[in-house]
């Protein structure tokens, strides 16, 4: 039996170019370039390395508007076998709960799976919650914040990077794994694969195809709502210029104002 691997990806606004509408305080999507979430590229690479070693079908899934097609094609061109975009106007405005539900339902619809990969978090909303949510919906175990992932004989062994150290864990499949940003070097697309990817194309699934009611998903299925947005006001700082010749004065000031203290030595 061929290993079935699913990779969850998200198209996100390029964090270098986020444009906020000064009136609505929302993201101006028309002025912001969209890219594949970086950590998801590491998740795909982790999946492709297992495919290289033991053979696997790698299916990309994503939830988003139709323009996410560029991301799906890009992932196919890197070596994924199939791409499914859950896309429906009813999916819009989803918080992490219905996002997880929609992705989990899409995975269920696909049938058997052994490993689900995702990036540690998305660069735009940075919750890290969708992966574990999907694992809970599917009632499977999970490994989050993995820096390395190996598969052998029905078991995934991974290193998890925690605040205070590195944990090595081993879990039987099926399992969901979230992969750390920059934990590997994603392979390049080749021209050949790019042509094939465009030819193959992605599939677009709506709520009906996935088997979800409109009121379960998107903004209607979201327990949380955004009440308001406000710009984060930074404390004004003086940015007082100090010349190298005056560093002695600065140091004296730091000790006088107790910003530096003698007892810290």
């Amino acid at each position: 039996m061929v290993l079935e691997i699913i990779v969850m990806v998200k198209q996100v606004p390029d964090s270098q170019e986020v444009v906020i509408d000064p009136v609505t305080m929302n993201l101006n999507r028309s002025l912001t370039r969209n890219v594949t979430n970086s950590a998801d590229e590491n998740a795909l690479e982790a999946a492709l390395r297992i495919k290289d070693k033991v053979g696997a079908n790698v299916t990309m899934i994503s939830m988003g508007p139709p323009q996410a097609e560029t991301t799906m094609i890009e992932c196919l061109a890197r070596g994924a076998d199939r791409a499914i975009l859950a896309s429906d106007r009813f999916f819009g405005g989803a918080d992490t709960y219905p996002t997880g539900l929609t992705l989990a339902a899409t995975i269920s619809k696909l049938g058997k799976f052994d490993i689900i990969f995702a990036g540690e978090e998305s660069s735009d909303s940075s919750t890290g919650h969708v992966g574990p949510g999907v694992a809970e919906f599917l009632n499977i175990d999970q490994i989050t914040y993995a820096s390395s992932v190996e598969y052998e004989d029905g078991y995934v062994t991974a290193e998890r990077e925690l605040e205070d150290g590195t944990e090595t864990v081993k879990v039987p499949t099926p399992v969901l794994v979230t992969v750390l940003l920059n934990s590997n070097s994603p392979r390049m697309q080749t021209l050949r694969r790019k042509i094939d990817a465009v030819k193959k194309g992605m599939e677009m699934w709506d709520h009906d195809k996935i088997g979800l009611q409109p009121e379960w998903v998107g903004v209607r299925g979201s327990p949380t709502i955004v009440r308001k947005m406000r710009p984060i006001k930074e404390r004004e700082r003086a940015a007082k210029k100090i010349e190298i010749d005056n560093i002695g004065d600065l140091v004296r000031e730091l000790y006088e104002k107790n910003i530096l203290k003698l007892e810290e030595e």
Partner: protein
Amino acid sequence: MAGIKLATPAAKPEEYKNVFVFLETREDKLVRPALEMIGVGKRIADKVGEKLYCLLLGGNIKKEAKEAVSYGCDVVLGAESPDLSVYRTLPYSKIISDFVKQEKPNIFLIPATRNGRDLASRIAVSCEAGVTADCTELDIEQDTRILSANRPTYGESMLAEILCKRHRPQMATARAGIFPVPDKVQSPKGDIRINDVKIEKALLRKEILDFKKKNAVDLTAAKVVVSGGMGLGKADGFKLIGELADEIGGVVGSTRPAADMGWITRDHQVGQTGQTVRPRLYIAAGISGKIQHIMGMKNSETIIAINTDPNAEIIKYSDFVINADLYKAIPPLISSVKEEKKKLLAANKK
């Protein structure tokens, strides 16, 4: 499909009472973010006249339960088993979800640490509740008992206020290093309820093969932090950073790119994917000030930037700016500190 489980609004939200916090442990010791949760949880509970419940899981947690009470926790709900001495997703999320379903808290807070984030949305889905991630401000509306969960978004430029009006509990994870550790209470009174539990085999399929502890560099508690970035130009630059840090009783920090280059280990990293610091003094040497780094250090009381670029982003966040090559600026900084200390010591002796 097996997984369809809808977020169902609470039929009677008024029946949900009290504030729950999850107390994360490592080797059965409370971690610092757990203490931060007690502080913010207590403040919210007090505001609406409710109790603070702390959830504590582990192999041997009686001492830590007393510790939680000493910080102001009203009730400790504990589950003890040798199988809980290390964190594992499935048994932890099962036991905690069971506590939540049984006790029906209005609010449930979890530290936004890696294991906290591993847990939070699993519990939310299991309890059909909403959860707001990585909050930096948390408050409760007194009359409605609605949690105001505020989290930075759009690259930390905006603060979104998120509410969960109809579902219970109202869950949030709270960013570590933002909420202060509370003072110990004068005469602690708390009810400790610890049960021995037996964990189903099916929940223990994850084997923990190894844990390699890092040389724990705790930047979050440091009073002084000296950080280096790409402006150092080479790994060797951190020697100079270390010298300055030693001289002023500080801890060495770094940016993510400097750690990515392998110039210093990850545990020194300050910022979005590293540690959040709020020292009395933060010195940023050769750091341009990418938003991910700024997020981790902007709450420092005093910030000094050392940078050759007069237009570097970091300057907006600095109280003092030394517009010079750090290799020219740090040596006189070190010698001035030595001199000043000598003077102060001499004055102290008199």
